[in-house]
Subunit: 463 residues, 2 copies
């Protein structure tokens, strides 16, 4: 979709100050595509191009630039022009953009803004990351309950262009308390009854969120009720903003990616992969890698305490990585299935007994199957067919343990209020590694002496 | 939020046929909450309760029941009542619901439906799962381009209640080709120019998708452009449906969960965890577990070829699981970071050189750090401080290989068109396991003979 061949033409237009074509470039395409076409321009060049669009076009195209490019433009271009741009950007988006800009420059820009915008930015940026207040916008349609349908249309037609969404009208009393909501759909349906008061058609059973509610919970509510926007209330139940469907979609994507990172034992990144610097990345991976490493050191101690049997039956060493990995893989599957099912609400904690029964059954089925393959290979490497039997027995027990532990631990962590996605992997991996060694060695120590008692007779008979 | 204490009261109302209270129950709360309160009722009881709501209330509450409960009701309740319900449900939702119902019953229901609904259901259900056609709805506002703003409002006010979304009006020619789109926002802004033709205010630069487009691509477009709905066109560019933001949100969640499952080597489930039967679950996990198991069998052969060094330096066995697991963990981190970054579009294939440089650097940093810890522990277990040096050297090389391989493989698979989420884990895990053993054994075979040449002199000097 991106056409790098277009860049030279764009630069040519700039060099020759081709007003007409630059204006056409800003207004013809969807702003997202115009922004794509500008990829590769310097901040100076891009800002020059944007000067040829209207105020609205400039804001819209700018909104589709990558975050880092936005920050670069905000930091380098003339302060007064940038302040005018910021005043036009929607309240939630500009706070996001400014979060990357150097504090000194932000302060210089703030003094150039109208007082109302300045206060709004300072209030929105005071919310901690990850709560409703940090993703809400303050651009919303607030109307009094005594307005009629006709007056509501009249009010809307004046402000429709500036509002983030016109699809819900929020009905408030004089103190700003939320009394009800009227959807544009209801308004349009009531068009023939122009003198009806909004209070008579509004919905008073409204789903709202508190300004400090976790954004993940907000996303769940919006998705469950298929809402276009959800109102955000303060402690006194006054409406302070709304969160729209597109911001919720971003939250859903962000949380899903964070969960995937946590399951792989990476502390979630705040910025994109390439935007995270080397030291932050090393730290976010290093802490968990170190915890997993220290956990794995315990396997060395465990093996040390079995030096006797390992010296006596050296062939057992051959299957050590296999035993550990099949436990780990099974545990990883179970843990991921339960973590994702818990986070989508697909299973609840009260289903635990059913989940344990299922995982036990699945462990038996899968372990049984892998045992058969394992036995066939073990026969070719172990000293005798009888001794080879250690492997399938171990695999069966290890796979069952993996399935049961892998599903139980996320539920335990969920129950005690820890994030299952974050905590489960290191614990599951560490426990299964150790358990795998314990099971393997104990099966061998129980079985092999029995086999040796019977086997010499058979073997001696052969030569 | 769910109150199981309410069930006895609900049953009491049913037993006494308390019309007034049952009616109030159906109409008072948000339908999602009403549905929550009914959790625990049998299909018969729930259907009886719903008879006390209006047609609209019945459809809305029914829409919030869990899928399995919906299917149970559709299959067990009187066919004529069910047919009336189905006729009222939105086109995309009813196809979803009917997909779980036994075919024989579906056929019985279809003949009871109005011909238009029947055709619509059969057409929508003919699209394969995962494409735009399968998630679109056919309820949309289509208007001619010669209509005026006033006429459009008029038309809308009649049909607003029945349409899935009234937020975009699609402007079509006589043959049904899409010519443009007018948002309700534009319409409201144009209210004072009531005689303007829609053709004069419509947007003709429209983002559309083909009816067979992959749903993941649809979700990407809608999320990127913050759309409320995207029109779906057939081969002749006629508009056949729209996909609304709430269905896109479901796709985003579904795809994120599927990716997480694939990364953990589980073939994605079509239904929820508890709704998937034991054999399907065993199969979806078993195939990948078997592939991983067979891959891990190669570690046994690899170790077999190093029986010489392992017999000579038996203490090396102690650290075998540790070496393998730290390579696997690093590889898993890198692979997951790259897979999620590729799927959100955060990194592109053309960034490969930069990614490789980063992972190499991170491998050196993390490997270097873990080496230090590893060396300290190895000193307590290896025969001498010099010999213990095998471990940190191995850990450094294994972690670097893990980071580089773990990030390279997903890009390779992406390049050749395989799903990186699905393919990377088995390959990364298998390769790193083998590579870990090769590196460990070769470092030992290079280093230990050198140490032994110098060491006896020192050791002999002590006693």
């Amino acid at each position: 979709m991106v056409n790098p061949l277009f860049l030279p033409e764009l630069r040519e237009m700039l060099a020759t100050q081709n007003e007409v074509e630059l204006k056409a470039f800003c207004e013809t395409l969807h702003p997202a595509r115009t922004a794509d076409f500008m990829e590769g321009l310097s901040a100076d060049e891009a800002w020059q191009v944007l000067q040829h669009g209207t105020d609205d076009e400039r804001v819209e195209i700018f909104a589709y630039f990558p975050h880092e490019f936005q920050v670069e433009i905000l930091e380098t271009q003339p302060r007064d022009q940038i302040a005018r741009l910021i005043a036009e950007i929607s309240p939630d988006d500009r706070v996001d953009m400014l979060s990357g800009v150097e504090e000194e420059i932000v302060n210089e820009l703030l003094v150039l803004l109208p007082a109302a915008d300045r206060r709004d930015i300072m209030r929105l940026s005071s919310y901690p990351e990850g709560v409703a207040g940090a993703i809400m916008t303050t651009d919303l349609a607030k109307l009094g309950e005594n307005l009629t349908v006709r007056e509501a249309f009249e009010a809307l037609s004046h402000s429709a262009g500036d509002l983030e969404t016109i699809y819900y009208l929020y009905i408030v009393d004089d103190a700003g308390h939320l009394r009800g909501v009227v959807s544009t759909r209801q308004l349009v349906s009531s068009m023939r009854k122009q003198n009806t008061r909004l209070a008579d058609i509004m919905d008073t059973e409204i789903t709202t969120v508190h300004v400090l509610e976790d954004q993940e919970e907000v996303a769940r509510q919006v998705a469950r009720l298929d809402l276009l926007a959800i109102p955000v209330l303060d402690d006194e139940r006054r409406i302070v903003g709304i969160i729209t469907h597109d911001d919720v979609m971003d939250v859903v994507r962000e949380e899903a990616t964070e969960d995937a990172h946590r399951i792989a034992a990476v502390d979630p990144l705040e910025r994109g992969y390439l935007q995270t610097n080397l030291w932050t990345m090393s730290w976010k991976r290093g802490i968990w890698l170190t915890i997993l490493f220290v956990g794995a050191l315990a396997t060395a101690s465990a093996l040390q305490s079995y030096e006797g049997p390992l010296d006596r039956w050296t062939w057992l060493v051959l299957f050590l990585p296999l035993v550990i990995s099949c436990g780990g893989n099974t545990g990883n599957q179970s843990a991921t299935l339960i973590i994702t099912a818990l986070s989508t609400g697909d299973v609840k904690l009260r289903d635990w007994a059913q989940i344990m029964r299922r995982e036990l059954a699945i462990g038996i089925v899968l372990g049984g199957f892998l045992s058969v393959i394992g036995y066939m290979v073990a026969c070719t490497m172990a000293p005798s067919l009888m001794e080879a039997f250690v492997l399938p027995l171990t695999v069966l027990l290890v796979v069952i343990s993996g399935a049961v532990l892998g599903s139980a631990l996320p539920m335990v962590f969920h129950r005690i209020g820890w994030d299952p996605a974050l905590m489960s992997n290191p614990f599951v991996a560490g426990l299964i590694d150790i358990l795998g060694i314990l099971i393997y060695m104990n099966v061998a120590m129980q079985l092999l002496p029995l086999v040796e008692k019977t086997l010499p007779i058979v073997e001696k008979a052969i030569p």
